[in-house]
Every structure is written in C-alpha cells, then in structure tokens.
Amino acid sequence: MDTHADTYSLERRTGEDDATTIVVGGVVGLREAVRFVSELRAQVAGSPGRVVFDLAGLEEIDTAALALLLHEGRRLSPPAELRGARGRVADVLTLYREAPRGSLRECPTGKPVFVQVGEVVEGLWERWLRTLSYVGECTAAVGATLRRPQSVPWRDVVRIMERAGADGLPIVVLISFLIGLIMAFQSAVQLQQFGADVFVADLVGLVVTRELGPLMTAIVVAGRSGAAFSAELGTMTVSEEVDALHTIGLNPFRFLVVPRVLALVLVLPLMTLIADLTGVLGGLLTGVGILDLTPRAYLIETRLALEPWDVFSGVFKSLFFAMAIALIACERGLSTKGGADGVGRATTSAVVTTLFTLVALDAVFTVIFHLYGI
C-alpha cells in the first residue's frame, strides 16, 4: 500500500472473481492529481478482468482529480466500476454524472493534411476576394469623394495629419540623420583608400534622396501610424462601431479610410523631403568631422551630384508608399474578427504586410526608373 503523508492512499486487492479492486483513501487535491493518476494507472496496469475503484475511504477529492480518475476508469475495458463514494466525494461524483453530455465539448481531432491544405487555399482565395472587394469599395469611395469633396471629414484629416506627421517627425528626423551619418562613415572608410573622399557627398545624397529617405520614412510611418490605424479600426470593428456607421448611412470607406489615405498622401512626401535634408546633414557631419571636408565643399558636391529628379523620384515614390500604408492598415483593421486577440493579430499582419509591400514597391520603382533611364 502506498501512503502519501496526509494526502491519499492507494491499495490494490485482487478478489476471488479475478476482479481487481483499487481502494482509494484520504484526500486528493489538485497538487496531487497528476501523481495520483499516474500511480493509479500503474496499479491498474495488467489487471486481467474487471476493475473496481473503491472510494469508501476517500474523504475529499478535487474536481480535476476526479475527472482524471473517471477518465482512467473509462479507458479500461470493461470500464471500471465506482463504489462506495460518500459525503462530498459522492456530491462531486453526482455533479459529473449529471452533467449534460452536450455541455461537454468534444476534443478536437486532427484533420487530414489534405483537408488542412484545402482550408488554407480556401482561406487565401477568400482573402483575395475580400481584397478585390476592398479595392473596389475604396475606388468607389475615392470617386464619390472627388465628386463631393465636402463629404470628406476634413477635421479628421487634419487630426490624422498631425498625429502621423508632426508627432512622428522627430523619430523620422533622428533616424534619417543617423542613416546619413552611418552611410557616410562606412563609405568614407572605403573611398579614402582611393583618395575619393569628396564622393561621399555624392553617394549619401543619391542614396538618401532616391532610396533610403523615402523608404525609411515610410517604414517609420508604417510602424507608427499604420499600426495605429489598424488597431483603431480593428477596435471599432469588434465593438460594432463600424456597423453603427453603416446604420447611420455613412460609408466606412469614406468616413474612415479616405481621411487616412488623404492624410498620409499629404504628409508623407513632406516628411520624405525633411528626411532627405537631415540624411544629407548626417553625411555632412561625417564629411566635416572625419574627412576634413568643409561644409561648403560638401554641399557644393552634393548639389552637383543631385538632379531635381533624384529628389522628385523619392517624393513621387512616397505618394505610393503613403497609399500602401493607409490602405493595407485600414483593410486589416476593417477585416478584424474576434476581440482583443483579433485586434492584435490584425495590427501585426498590417505592419508585416506593409513592410513587405513597401520594399517590393521600392524595388519595382527602382527597376522602372532604371529601364527608363531616369
């Protein structure tokens, strides 16, 4: 007989009719439940015939431990018989036996791999259809906005511009300044070997204005404002505010999506120009500090290296980046399902999809500009 101090005891007895009786005594709490069941299983193992759980000596048992005991009993063939339960143990046992079968959820069973693949494909197809529908709705909303510009909630546009633009500017300035500084430092080490120090200004100017200025600005805005858009609209969706908009006769696309797209389209090119400027200033600091260039020489070299198109191409790209950030974030927000968990997933998905889209768009623009020699 195994006895565990002040808790429970298990004893195996074999009767004349080959029935194995497991006598359970003492108190089984939640802490002992796992050990209790593994010892019970060991006692039952190898029993040739009928098994009886004698609970007469059991003073108290936790509901979880009793559930595990019943489960062990049902696993046997034939199922174990329960005897002698009394007092609180009998009460808990009655509760379990009277629980409506329908109220106990079936354990989920694994689906065949083909079914799982099919469900994933179906999910992707449905997402594609939803995206097409979303693009169609947005196009219609933009058309309606162009016909009736007064229908745009301009007060919201200004509020969003302030949050996405003015509030986000310090981090954009800091990051672009550091990018210019780091790039100049890394290239200076290489170019110094060939006596081509001054070309650091060319490199920094071109890369910042054509690529990194617009891209880094868009990435920062996607992380800040894109995530905020998605979380905001996701919360509105799960709390039925978007449905309420429908019932007031207001189109959520025009009321929620269009102001965000407009705000970012207006603000991102301006932020990109400021990022370009601070990136060049970061390069200038390195040029003056490490390469002994004068600020005047650095700026003249930068001006000679840059064509107006270099700056304009970055600003041009930022318009598309702005649309991508706002549209993707709003789409993820409006398609949120569930509660807080759904909002979290929508926000994560919005940021990841936007970052991928921004880099892909940048690559596409780079190839197109290269093909057209601009």
Binding site: S239, D243, A244, T247, G249
Partner: protein, 246 residues
C-alpha cells in the same frame, strides 16, 4: 393594416452551415416586437439580417417603404442600437448624436445643437453632452445609443438586447423608455432580448427562436405563450426551468 416588416421563409447561415431556416413572421405598425430565445439561438444574427448588415442564404425581408433592408450612403430608413451602444469612442455624446444630423438633416449647427440636447434629454442624459463614452456607465451608453438611433426621428427602431447586463433599476428605466417611445412617438420597435421581465412588460408580440429546431418554435403574445404553450423549450424558457423539467 399592412405590416411594417414582412419576413418570408428566411434561411440564415454561412457556407454549408444553416443557423435557422424557414423563418417567417410579420411586424405590425406600432408593435413592440420581441425576438427572444436562449443564448446562441441566433437572435442578434436575425436582427443583423433585418437591418441589412448581413445577407440571408434564402428567403426575403421586406420593410414597408424601403423594400429589402439597405444600408449605404444616404439617410438611414430606421434607427439601430447595438448591444454595447457602439458609440464612437473619440466623440462626445453630443457629437455621437449629432453625427447623423450633421450628415443628413441639412440643419445648421445651432439647430443641430438644440436637437441633440433634446434627444439626450429624452433618454435622461441631459448634462452629459460633453462626456466621452468611456466616462459613462453601460446603461448610459445604451441610452446614448438610443438617442443616436432616434436622431433622425425614425418610425422603426431596432434594439439589440437593450437591458442586458444592466442593474434592475437601469433595466426597468430602459424598458420604460422603450414603451414611452412606442406610445408617445409611435415608434415601431423590434428588439432582441432574453430578459423575461422586459418581455412581459414591453412586448406586444414576440417570436421565440430555438437552437435545436433552428427556427421559430412559438409566436404570439408572450403571456399567452407562457400559459398555453405545450412546447417543452418554450415552457422551460418562460418558467425558468431546465428543459427536462418543463
């Protein structure tokens, strides 16, 4: 008198799953019509179909003067209050109520302000005009939701569980408000609830949905249903007993 809402052989579901089928009923002008039933039987889902937020798999819904339920650009043909109130969190109560008026009434700002104060007074929220939804209680949110639904003076109002989760006094006050709107303004009201006190107090007619039957198990005056129905589900619901004991 022609019914305000006519529902014929409605089937609701998603894909292969059918939540309810063959649902037919009519709502008459001036009714306080209650959709009742246990949790998960599809009451709120039916309401979402009645207001046009979701499309049925089959059957028809006709609203007098509107046709099939429609929601889109334009003044809404009916008012809707959602279970949580669904107020816009970034707007004050007065801005919430003013939104449909600003969008569709053509009134100037001063007139809108006056109407908003009047609507909020109607639901007992005068003095709370400048509060944000986060600053008021659940019952007050529902009242503000009703005020917003009433902003454009609809003759048809849909309410999703208006008294659910409220303390008894707030629940009774909301029931009084619904009755008052119905009697004094002639607002036909369709509401979803499973609060028995509310049902007996305000409902002129009701339908009862059942999860197992996947449709309507009883229709009529709630008191008559309570006293005469032989359906075990209906008896269990009205007598507050488990199904087997009904």
């Amino acid at each position: 008198m022609a019914p305000v809402i006519t529902v014929e052989r409605l089937t609701i579901g998603w894909g292969d799953f059918v939540l309810m089928h063959d649902v037919s009923f009519e709502v008459d002008r001036g009714d306080v019509f209650v959709i009742l039933g246990g949790s998960g039987c599809g009451k709120s889902t039916l309401l979402r179909h009645l207001i046009g937020l979701e499309q049925p798999l089959g059957g028809t819904i006709e609203i007098a003067g509107v046709g099939a339920p429609r929601l889109g650009d334009g003044a809404p043909p009916y008012g809707v209050m959602f279970q949580s109130g669904a107020l816009f969190g970034s707007m004050t109560l007065s801005e919430n109520v003013a939104l449909p008026l600003r969008s569709w009434s053509g009134l100037d700002a001063e007139a809108i302000d006056a109407v908003v104060r009047d609507k909020l007074r109607l639901v007992g929220l005068d003095g709370f005009e400048n509060h944000l939804p986060a600053e008021i209680s659940g019952g007050m949110k529902k009242r503000a939701g009703i005020a917003r639904a009433l902003a454009l003076d609809p003759k048809l109002l849909f309410l999703d569980e208006p008294s659910a989760g409220l303390d008894p006094i707030s629940a009774v006050e909301l029931d009084e408000l619904v009755l008052s709107l119905n009697r004094n303004l002639g607002v036909t009201t369709v509401l979803v609830t499973h609060e028995l006190e509310s049902i007996f107090k305000i409902a002129s007619r009701c339908i009862m949905l059942d999860k197992e039957v996947r449709g309507i198990v009883a229709a009529g005056d709630p008191r008559t249903l309570r006293d005469t129905s032989t359906d075990p589900g209906v008896r269990a619901f009205f007598n507050r007993t488990p199904r087997g004991d009904a």
